[in-house]
């Protein structure tokens, strides 16, 4: 028997699952506290967050806490490891595309006029992080957005912390980015939206280790004067990506790695198949026309459904 609880956090749904119902309150308390700390450090929409301070003072050194330091370090590493595909310095591009406030407010807006933006390529390579002095300096004119990595990093951390505190297995989901820890096998449904019902159709897989993430351009969308835009910015154009995939799900050794790979795969287009195969990452790619491709040992749909 598994016990789960969910609540709103970081503009999405946070969920924690543990085998024993008696552990649920404790697990939720740990997750909730960690997410509040993450929001104070890494939110792009809170004017009082450390990340907002770093963005406001681009070009100057800014003292930050350990959590934001870790998040920026992970984001820059993601950019390096994907040759800049998963780029944390696209904050200004997201704003120009219309994602300049919480998604609820973006969706409530009638339309948005796409703003011109000059994107400095490989700005991520000039992000300076001094861990000893806890100081970050981003290039002048650059804005950080940690959306592709911070949530997944938080899921990994929370899962590890809860598993250690409870001496139990645990599953943590932050908007569909899932991390598991401890000994256990977790059945998970794959869907286009993380808030889809548990009992819907489609593949169901079991995850015993690491993380699972799904990236899509079909959920976080909004209206603009040039048609619909979405949150996945292509660093090569500085604009919302045009990709042949509507959804990519990836399992990896951590939720962070899974999320990085899913995002990179979306941006790589057809080249994603070879990229994922070379890394032995079990992946499920859904093309815009609905065709499904499995890579790296992802179980066949008929078996999983």
């Amino acid at each position: 028997m598994t016990a789960t609880t969910s609540f709103r956090a970081l503009g999405t749904t946070a969920l924690v699952a543990v085998p024993r119902r008696s552990d649920l309150v404790h697990a939720r308390g740990i997750l909730s506290a960690q997410l509040e700390e993450l929001d104070r450090a890494c939110s792009r929409f809170r004017p009082d967050s450390q990340l907002s301070r770093v963005n406001q003072r681009a070009g100057q050194p800014v003292r930050v806490g350990r959590l934001l330091g870790d998040a920026v370090e992970a984001a820059v590493a993601a950019a390096r490891d994907t040759c800049g595909l998963v780029d944390p310095t696209l904050g200004a591009n997201l704003r120009a595309a219309g994602y300049d406030r919480t998604f609820e407010l973006v969706q409530a807006r009638d339309s948005w006029t796409l703003q011109p933006v000059v994107h400095t390529r490989r700005a991520w390579a000039r992000v300076e992080l001094d861990r000893n002095a806890s100081v970050i300096r981003i290039p002048f004119g650059c804005q950080l957005d940690l959306g592709a990595t911070a949530k997944a990093l938080a899921a990994d951390r929370a899962a590890r912390t809860i598993a250690k505190a409870l001496e139990s297995s645990v599953l943590v989901s932050l908007g569909g980015d899932i991390a598991v820890a401890g000994e256990g096998e977790w059945p998970i449904r794959i869907a286009e939206r993380h808030d889809a019902p548990l009992d819907g159709d489609g593949p169901r897989i079991a995850l015993v280790y690491g993380g699972l993430a799904t990236s899509t351009t079909t959920v976080r969308r909004w209206r603009t004067d040039h048609g619909n835009a979405h949150h996945l910015i292509d660093p090569r154009t500085g604009r919302p990506a045009r990709t042949c995939w509507r959804t990519v799900s990836v399992a990896a050794s951590s939720c962070l790695d899974a999320n990085i790979a899913a995002t990179a795969a979306m941006l790589l287009g057809e080249n994603a198949i070879e990229w994922l195969r070379a890394r032995n990452l079990a992946s499920r790619l859904v093309a815009n026309d609905g065709g499904v491709i499995h890579v790296g040992g992802w179980p066949a749909e008929a078996e999983a459904a």
Binding site: V76, C83, G176, E185, I190, R204, L212, W275, G297
Partner: protein, 107 residues
């Protein structure tokens, strides 16, 4: 005007050369120490993001013993200078007949 012997002239010149040599060595030592101090003071322990030299995407990964799930590093890649993980096994994602406890999807 007193006539000095060639020996006395030689000795005086020799002393002058020794004095100048000592001054030059002392000056060089002092300058070396000063510049070393300045250089040491201007260097911080920094993590600085560098442009990736490798043409192929690579990843820094944690070495794991029990993990059945691989990280981002490509198999057999020669461009993995920071990677600790060598050969990776395919991910063990299996079909599950059980009722799911969570949904992985976009948000």
């Amino acid at each position: 005007m007193r006539n000095e012997s060639p020996v006395a002239i030689r000795d005086r010149a020799s002393r002058r050369v020794r004095r100048l040599t000592a001054l030059a060595v002392g000056g060089a030592t002092a300058l070396t120490a000063a510049f070393s101090g300045i250089a040491a003071g201007s260097t911080h322990t920094k993590t600085h993001a560098k442009t990736a030299p490798a043409p192929t995407p690579t990843a820094t990964t944690k070495k794991t013993v029990t993990a059945p799930v691989p990280s981002l590093t490509p198999n057999g890649s020669s461009a993995t200078p920071q990677s600790q993980t060598q050969t990776q096994q395919p991910t063990q994602v299996t079909p599950s007949p059980q009722a799911p406890v969570a949904v992985s999807g976009g948000s």
